[in-house]
């Protein structure tokens, strides 16, 4: 089967919707997500889980799963010193419990948000817009409150681990109760494999390849490579740091066993597009539950007796090519406070952020880590740094101006200053700076390099 342009555009529109779901921030639509979980169990021929627990981040979800596996010991500091009234205090079903507990607390009306399909416009605003500060800080504050009073830090267990343990109890968990075996293969892998086989049969190899490119290639790079993959990597490192020694493996196991929720969109979109092209093949039938969770929640875990679901991020900030990017806070932040700090996709320590507003030439010059220094330079502004640090003008030509600055102990900073060819609406022309290789000798050579050409080869007839 060969796709027409209209069919490709349809596939791209579906991809845009799933991309919007993948970068959506704000409260999960819990009721819809839980129904999706139960559907995914039923579609796999399984009994629905006895309990569904909710957590405020993938990190909390992973630790909850590790505790529910029975392989991670309960942190000493969180063991109750008196007999716990938790079970008596929260006898209601897990869903109701979840809404009553502080860290998971939320307005009741929010449970029915997200009922409308995620629109492209909302996704774009979520990607570039400001974080929902008020809602998120309330929830962070609530989350911190759960662990207050415990001596977790003294016991060597990070406070957030104690909070997860307390939260799990608040939602009705009794220590000793386990989640049962993982059902990830039955709930996710096998339905995916069956749908893929059916889709290739319906569309042919070429049709499937063309559709995958039209409906999934772009979002795969943007979501899996630039967001979910970064999150998974970082979460593994954070869990290893929080649980050194014997518990390390048990704590990190859930990272490998997670179902990615909203980040499953890049592959679900290809199946939804295929389903639209061949409705009779029933390609989305076995994936309906997974798709429902993906539209409404973040990472989740499917086990025999228990499902653990997590919230979407409260804030996600990306640059114009889709990399996690923020200087003054976490670029990806969850409602329980867990977050990833990154500058143009490069992870940065949170301490760096507090320094950024007060950077000086001397401070930047004395930074030993080259990558951190690069972040500092970009935040300070290359143009400002070149001026303040006394850069030399190497020459000007019709392509721009070349600047040179020695960086002690590092390769020189060489940049071309270029004026945008198309004036802004107010009549001014935007100036921008491009870093070029240190051996560059002229502005033309520098600009040519940015396009992979030599100075002689770079001869644009028209520029706009």
């Amino acid at each position: 089967m060969k796709l027409s342009h209209a069919q490709e555009a349809m596939a791209a529109a579906i991809e845009d919707q799933w991309l919007a779901a993948a970068v959506q921030t704000g409260d999960a639509a819990r009721a819809a997500a839980e129904e999706g979980v139960r559907d995914s169990y039923r579609l796999a021929g399984l009994e629905v889980p006895d309990r569904i627990y909710w957590f405020g981040s993938p990190r909390a979800g992973a630790v909850a799963m590790a505790l529910l596996s029975g392989r991670l010991p309960i942190p000493a500091a969180t063991r109750p010193t008196v007999s716990s009234p938790d079970v008596e205090a929260f006898p209601s079903p897990p869903t109701a419990v979840a809404e009553a507990s502080p860290a998971a607390a939320r307005p009741a009306s929010a449970a029915t948000d997200g009922g409308a399909p995620p629109g492209v416009a909302s996704g774009e605003s979520a990607a570039g817009g400001a974080p929902p500060a008020a809602a998120s800080s309330e929830r962070v504050a609530a989350g911190v409150g759960v662990g207050s009073g415990s001596s977790a830090a003294e016991a060597g267990v990070p406070e957030w681990v104690a909070e997860v343990c307390a939260e799990l109890r608040l939602q009705g968990w009794t220590p000793g109760e386990t989640a049962g075996p993982s059902l990830r293969r039955r709930v996710r892998t096998e339905p995916w494999a069956a749908a893929r086989k059916a889709a290739v049969e319906a569309l042919g190899n070429d049709g499937w390849a063309q559709l995958s490119a039209a409906a999934g290639r772009r979002s795969w790079g943007l979501v899996m490579d630039l967001i979910a993959g970064r999150l998974r990597l970082r979460l593994g490192e954070d869990l290893a740091a929080a649980f050194p020694g014997d518990d390390s493996r048990a704590a990190r196991m859930p990272v490998l066993d997670a179902i990615y929720g909203q980040y499953d969109g890049p592959w679900l979109s290809t199946f939804e597009a295929a389903d639209r092209l061949c409705p009779e093949a029933g390609l989305m039938t076995g994936l309906a539950g997974l798709a429902e969770v993906a539209r409404h929640a973040g990472w989740w875990w499917a086990n025999e007796k228990v499902a653990v679901l997590t919230e979407r991020p409260s804030a996600l900030t990306r640059d114009n090519v889709g990399r996690l990017h923020r200087g003054e806070g976490a670029a990806l932040e969850f409602p329980d406070g867990y977050g990833l700090w990154a500058w143009r996709g490069m992870p940065i320590p949170p301490e760096l952020a507090s320094e950024l507003p007060t950077l000086t030439v001397t401070r930047i010059r004395h930074e030993n880590n080259a990558e951190i220094r690069r972040v500092m330079l970009e935040h300070y502004g290359y143009d400002r740094y070149l001026r303040d640090a006394g850069a030399r003008k190497m020459g000007s030509d019709e392509t721009g101006t070349l600047w040179y600055l020695d960086l002690p102990g590092d390769e020189p900073l060489v940049m071309v200053e270029v004026v945008n060819s198309t004036p802004e609406p107010d009549g001014t022309s935007r100036i921008y700076w491009l870093r070029v290789p240190p051996r560059t000798r002229s502005a033309r050579e520098g600009v040519a390099w940015t396009f992979g050409l030599t100075a002689e080869e770079y001869q644009p007839m028209i520029q706009t």
């Binding site: 791209a12 991809e15 774009e124 570039g128 490119a213 491009l434 870093r435 940015t450």
Partner: protein, 105 residues
């Protein structure tokens, strides 16, 4: 050759175009050379019978086949007219010590 912001369009001989496949259209049916994720702005090419194709071995390497004439547009830059011919599309990059990365237009 033609430059529109961070995209350079370089004339090539037909023989320089590798085995390639059409680049899928976007949801508005457009042929997109490069797109900004935050702004949503895009370098778009179009024209009678014009094709945007990508190297089968490297989907990021794009070529334009222009049978009669074409036009490149972008929200923030002036339009560019392309005469008939074959073109290679190059996205601007920036030097970072030890590597390089694409420019965010």
């Amino acid at each position: 050759m033609y430059r529109q912001g961070d995209v350079l369009i370089i004339p090539v001989a037909e023989t320089e175009v590798p085995a390639s496949a059409p680049v899928p259209r976007d949801r508005r049916g457009r042929m997109v050379l490069a797109r900004g994720e935050a702004t949503g702005h895009a370098h778009v090419v179009g024209g009678p019978g014009l094709q945007l194709v990508a190297d089968l071995d490297d989907p990021d390497a794009m070529f334009i086949e222009v049978p009669s004439h074409g036009r490149v547009t972008h929200e923030e830059h002036g339009p560019i007219s392309l005469p008939a011919g074959h073109y290679r599309v190059v996205r601007q990059r920036e030097y970072i010590p030890g590597a390089f990365r694409p420019v965010a237009d």
